[in-house]
Symmetry: C2
Subunit: 329 residues, 2 copies
């Protein structure tokens, strides 16, 4: 590892672009040896997650190297956030068809910018020849016993989501040119959607705030219904949620009809907001944090003993929803 | 992570084949949540490494799923061994064209067998659709300050290798049908070469034994000369080595001429033996361990202040060697 088995035979590129990205504590030995060596404080546990992004599956093939780099890191940081943990380090396994130095330079620059923003250090990795794909593994720490696990969910818990949903799915529709908007979208809207897809905001601050409040949490990558199911399935629970309580940006109504918006919001995925459950005893505290703008979140429903997720529309009618997560390109 | 963003949409396959592979201590939360949670003892440091294997680049496209699984895990375990560390956990990011259940079942079975043999637990991962590639990240621990780093090398240190070299490169020649043997190889030889390539022995026991003896170590993946260079370059040293001291299996002389054997041994790579350096004061102890069969290793030369690696043949003549590592398929 540590960028050693370079079938591209580009040791100099590795050294130039990937040896010192970001700065954080606890790195006893970074990139450049067989392994990285990391120090975990004795009052912490290690949390770790890995996600692979494959060209044309997880991002369109015309994506820029900086867009790819930042999305690849952020989707992983989002998993760390969903545990209520703090990210510190990451490794990068990068597979590239050719060692195009300009591409690598732009990828590395964008990755560094995010590494610094989120307090992460690149501590090693691997560069191989092959079809474009990016596997990032992020390492973080959490106070012992304080991680938010899915299995903490209980019947009667209130269900919340952070931020707003649907825009990343709208971005995918835009990329796929499947938006039937009568007028072309203004540039600022296109940029906003583009950013929502490539630069989702990992809710790290929110995750840490929720450590002593949430009974369970997940980041919404596959879609609200699919990801909420992952939480509920850990205990064979169900849920009742109300569509009118789920936040989405107003401007979506300018570019899509109500049915498409429902699809984006409920099963679109890729927003990387947190969906979390809160026991009744902590709801008042959370609502005070929401009122004082410490955290942006909305209650969308409640966990029930009856399995399955029932989503009601404004008229109290049951919506016909699909549980399946979003299928990429 | 934890096999969640499954573009293959095969949550059931993940649960069936990848949720409980291997058993080791320290797993507070394994596969099935956003992150794994691991406990690192307070007297230990975390060591971690990642390697990607891409079809046709790192293994032939007709490789069996069990061969691919075991090579993917072992090349990573070998990096842990080169630090003198103990492997405990791993994650698997698996990219597959199609979710062929028979293939996945055979892959998983072989991975489990090695996970148990080497005391590792699969704690999470990611399953995505795309061209076949396997990224494994292994996590281990080492007593604080006891890891063997490349930068520990000093002028005058003796250079050793474990086991014997060249057979994995011979296997690659066999796969590429570039062996000019007059008679077909007997089946037991073919099996032996096949195993050397797909099931290299990670030198974990040896690495741990060398913790207080070796000043530096590396696993030979790219080739002896290339990997020894990685150690020496950390201090801008050079080395003098003798070809006659480098161990290789006798039977190689039956299937290749001296020149080809030299190439396999010096720059073939893929054997995953350890190359390590030993200060003079520890040589006697190491030689006693070798004599008592605690470790199988040979001294092949010495670190010099003059940069570059000089390899001498039996007649004391300088060999014309290439520094470049082995290029895969």
């Amino acid at each position: 590892m540590s960028f050693r088995k370079a079938s591209l035979n580009e040791f100099s590129i590795i050294e130039k672009y990937f040896s010192t990205l970001g700065k954080s504590k606890g790195v006893s030995l970074g990139a450049g040896d067989d392994c990285a060596i990391l120090d975990i404080p004795s009052d912490k546990q290690l949390v770790t997650t890995v996600d692979t992004l494959v060209e044309t599956i997880h991002f369109p093939s015309n994506s820029s190297p900086s867009d790819i780099a930042q999305r690849s890191l952020r989707v992983n940081l989002s998993d760390i956030a969903a545990m209520g943990a703090d990210p510190h380090w990451f490794t990068l396994a990068l597979t590239l068809q050719t060692a195009n130095e300009e591409w690598i330079s732009r990828f590395s620059k964008a990755l560094e910018s995010d590494a610094i923003e989120f307090g992460c250090t690149l501590v090693g990795g691997d560069l191989t020849a092959g079809p474009l794909s990016i596997t990032i593994q992020v390492f973080g720490t959490v106070d012992k016993g304080k991680a938010i696990k899915r299995s903490g969910v209980k019947e009667g818990d209130y269900i919340y989501v952070t931020g707003s949903l649907g825009e990343a799915a709208a971005a995918v529709s835009l990329f796929e040119k499947s938006l039937n908007s009568t007028t072309p979208l203004p540039k600022n809207l296109i940029d906003r959607l583009h950013n929502k897809f490539y630069r989702p905001e990992p809710r790290i601050k929110e995750g840490i705030l929720l450590q002593n409040i949430a009974s369970s949490a997940i980041d919404i990558s596959d879609g609200l219904i699919a990801d909420l199911s992952h939480i509920l399935n850990s205990k064979l629970y169900g849920a009742n949620i109300e569509f009118k309580c789920i936040p989405y940006a107003n401007f979506l109504t300018d570019i899509a009809d109500h049915k498409l918006i429902q699809k984006w919001v409920l099963s679109g995925g890729d927003d990387y907001e947190l969906c979390f459950t809160v026991p009744k005893k902590h709801v008042a505290l959370l609502e005070r944090m929401i009122a004082s703008k410490k955290i942006q979140a909305c209650c969308i429903g409640q966990v029930s003993i009856n399995s399955g997720i029932r989503c009601y529309d404004d008229q109290g009618e049951l919506l016909n929803i699909t549980k399946s997560g979003y299928q990429h390109f």
